[in-house]
Amino acid sequence: MRQVALTVNGMRHELELEPRELLVYVLRDRLKLTGTNVGCDTSSCGACTVLVDGESVKSCTVLGVQADGAEITTIEGLAANGSLHPVQQAFHDHHALQCGYCTPGMVMAAVSLIEHGEATSEAAIREGLEGNLCRCTGYHNIVAAVQDAAGAMGRAR
């Protein structure tokens, strides 16, 4: 077992982890943050996307022990003071989901894209979300939502 300290959504957690535990299962099973989904287990689908020190990563292929000392943001950490994050709000407004399974990862990938100033056009958004699969194939509304959110976050700055 290994002592690991993670800051998740602003809250510090000290955990004893098996070295082989994946970050996504640390979040889901240990911290009960089940918003982050596991789709493929092999980094193909992006459902497990979270931010580690501000960068989007696929948490199914990161060991929990590798995240020692890191700041992690999951889908649960986006809404503040009871109001949705602009990306969540835009997904709601545009009905940018069907079954919803890919949504947490899609939202986290979109947040990273916008925060890095890379959601500059429809083409850039499509390219920036290419690591996230929506098997309902609802990409059209997702892209519209991200464009909208990028505008809203730009105006808020």
């Binding site: 290994r2 070295p19 082989r20 994946l22 287990d41 092999t42 980094s43 193909s44 992006g46 996307t49 960068e55 989007s56 990563v57 696929k58 199914c60 292929t61 990161v62 060991l63 022990v65 590798q66 020692d68 990938a109 990273s112 894209l113 390219e127 920036g128 290419e130 690591g131 996230n132």
Partner: protein
Amino acid sequence: MEVFRPSTLDEALRLRAEHPQARPIQGGTDVMVELTFGDARPEALLDLSELAELRGFAEEDGLLRLGAGLTYTEAMQTPLASRLPALAEASRTVGSPQIRNRGTIGGNLGTASPAGDALPPLLAERAEVELASARGTRTMPLAEFLLGVKRTALAPGELVTAVRVRPCEGPQTFAKVGQRNAMVIAICSLAVVVDAEAGEVRAAFGSSAVTARCVVVPLAEAAELPERVVEAASPIDDVRATAAYRRHALRVLAARTLERCLRT
């Protein structure tokens, strides 16, 4: 499974010598997938992601030293992207943003897949690999480091610590064919470097032989390049494409990238 997490290179090299069965890992974009699929069952991992010595890049007298921990995302950014544009282009085609944030140049070399996207641009730039062990440091040409499918010249106790490259003057570019844009292993890939000083054009290709391979033709005979690339390739039929398709695609990629470089 044990996971060693050294915080200095010296500690990493000591652990490497003491635990030869420990599999080196950086961002884990290759190793973790192997573990999850059950294709690899290492007794231990040697996580190199905390080593400051492997991060970023430095330049001295025109020689670039890319740390083994340099991520694809970092390779895509200026000023590195303007020194090694083909590597930056190749990095942009790797996986997806999440993979590019984790995956590293050193990891690509350590895995030594014939499909490694960083390998053709580095081969075409005649890059050298820096290898360290408790015994010391040595360098060797990347072309000699790559021995076969996922086989390298890494000696016991050694770790890949950096890639050294002296970017040549002249245009260069990279192209690849895959089943979709993101998250796929290349069906074939190719980097072209026009080395005006040496008076030659070098093309290195991936996914069409047991290792990524480099072909050199004199600048005056640049038109021969596509044919020379196809002659040097020995592709196979696999789940992604047939050998015949790969030969065809290599010829197209060589002609297209060459045109991009020479048309100005």
